[in-house]
């Protein structure tokens, strides 16, 4: 479920190497892209359309109406289990916090999206592979509850290796907590859009991310319950081409649309306007 390590390796391979230079090489087509162009294009390769990983802050910039975002997140994680593997959890946390520049793997707040009052919650892959522990679960739940109380829609962008092992059963319980919170929204007939990005697996997919009113996915994103390596180990055979990718899930009826990042804001705003209460 929590496959941080696997994805850390993937990142090394799959993400644009962020050299201080002005040029970035596309990991898919090898094209040399001027970094400013790539940024302006939301980290989608202008040559082949490959979607590179986008930071959580850039996501907020992409989706929230300009100047509307007011951050509400900021809870800090604790080592409730006194967890130590090859190093103590608090030491890992310090490193993750330094790397990601935030206390845990989520950023969120109030904003408007296409003019619709919303709560936007974005997971951050840079923090422990976007794994969900108590803080992520609580921030999501508070955000959803706030939306229900204030008549806002909810937009959640998922990117996660799954539940965080270092918080063990408490991480698992966040799946139930976040899912239950969505019932508050349901009762108020407020829309919830889930956006699945590369990668979204494990306990995140198997809870709040999969039970939205509308589910959108970015092209080529790895999305599933079990990670491909676990499946390969279980069945001892190679996985089919494109298995667990967005397009595969669209074909199998699991997502509503695969949307190019450059059209994402427009699509989200369209859906919200169609679903949000009219009076």
């Amino acid at each position: 479920m929590a496959l941080e390590r696997l994805f850390r390796r993937r990142r090394a391979k799959g993400e644009a190497r962020d050299v201080p230079e002005l040029w970035v090489k596309c990991p898919n087509c090898d094209a040399q892209i001027y970094k400013k162009d790539l940024e302006a294009n939301w980290y989608v390769c202008p040559k082949c359309g490959y979607h590179m990983r986008l930071s959580a802050d850039k996501r907020v910039e992409l989706l929230a109406d300009e100047g509307s975002f007011q951050k509400t997140t900021g809870l800090k994680p604790v080592d409730a289990l006194n967890f130590t593997d090859t190093e103590p959890y608090p030491k890992r946390l310090e490193r993750y916090q330094r790397e990601a520049g935030r206390p845990d793997a989520i950023v969120g707040g109030r904003c408007t999206v296409g003019g619709v009052p919303s709560v936007l919650l974005v997971m951050d892959y840079a923090f422990a592979g976007g794994s969900m522990g108590s803080v992520v679960g609580e921030e999501l739940t508070r955000g959803i509850e706030a939306a229900a109380n204030e008549n806002r829609s909810v937009v959640i962008v998922s990117v996660s290796g799954g539940a965080r092992m270092q918080e063990a059963a408490l991480s698992l319980m966040q799946m139930a907590k976040t899912t239950l919170a969505l019932d508050r929204l349901w009762a108020r007939r407020l829309p919830y859009i889930s956006i699945l990005t590369d990668p979204t697996t494990g306990g995140v997919t198997a809870s709040f991310a999969a039970i939205a009113d509308v589910i959108l996915a970015e092209p080529g994103a790895l999305i599933g319950f079990a990670g491909p390596r676990v499946i390969k180990q279980t069945i001892r055979q190679d996985l089919p081409e494109g298995f667990q990718r967005s397009e595969f899930l669209l074909k199998h009826g699991m997502v509503d649309k695969v949307v190019d990042r450059r059209k994402l804001k427009e699509t989200v705003a369209d859906v919200l306007k169609l679903l949000y209460p009219r009076d």
Binding site: M1, A2, E4, R5, L75, K76, P77, V78, A80, L81, F83, D85, T86, S134, V135, G137, E138, T141, A163, R164, M165, E167, A168, A169, L170, S171, L172, M173, Q174, M175, A176, K177, T179, L180, A181, D183, T201, G202, G203, T205, A206, S207, F208, A209, A210, I211, G224, F225, A226, V230, I231, T234, I235, L239, P240, F243, Q244, H252, G253, M254
Partner: protein, 339 residues
Amino acid sequence: MSVVSSAAQGMGPKPYGESTGEVCVALEFEKPIADLEAKIAELEGFATKSGVDLSDELSVLRERLAQLKNDTFENLTRWERVQLARAPGRPTSLDVIGGITTGFVELSGDRAYSDDAAVVGGLAYLEGEPIVIVGHQKGRDTKENIYRNFGMPHPEGYRKAMRMMDLADRFGRPFVALIDTPGAYPGISAEERGQAWVIAQSIQRMARLRVPAVAIVLGEGGSGGALAIGVGNRILILENAWYSVISPESCAAILWRDAKEAAKAAEALKLSAFDLLELGVVDRIIPEPGGGAHRDPKATFVHIKQALLETLAELKPLPPEALFEDRYRRFRGLGRFQE
């Protein structure tokens, strides 16, 4: 926590030994006990046959055996409990349903794709009261385990469980879920049919029940595949069962890069019933007979039934909306963080 002694049932615990069937297999950490039992049996046989009086020697050995058993089972490590939770002969969901209910009518199918043998469920009487009961189902031997997919459900299994939840709501029957799975099946077929999606749906469906819902972790509570039927008003757990975000082996493979470090991972994950009670993840521990549930299933059933009846009696006075709110509150409070 109440204890009903197994002696009250007139059923002695099963002896240790090497063969399966009526005799239980000794687990790795139980080997010294099994060896000592064998030695005692051998001496007893010799004494009877030869007529030599060995009663002094035997009483010393029996005392040592009692001490050894005590030392072993009073100080079980988390990893030893995991082994007990997986012990051959440990009561499965169907065993428990047979042991605590009457008139069980098993229902099948998800009405969409197929019938998943890794999940069983149906209608039954608990002390004369109709209930709906569902559980993960492992096999009792290799052949049955293959049929049951080792208790690892596909999406159709969770859809079957959700059908049972619908029945419980529609007819106002208490819903009981028995958890015993290494995890939801991680395979191509399961992914294609939306494993993550049905687990999320099942969590949501169970959360929405307007009847009393009780989940009991019988053996293995493997991650999301367990939680899918674990959103009860109360969560009970057998003394030696485990419940965790990931199995000790998988956790060890990722964090220690070696599945053989599972014992360390089991300790770190704090996955035992006692840990989970402290964390508020479970509400009550159901005691097991000495040596584990598989040594005396009948006594185990008595304990389970008593705990379940008491829990349902607590929930029964609550009206439907209050039951939903109670469940909301129960899970809302889980998590540790700093403001």
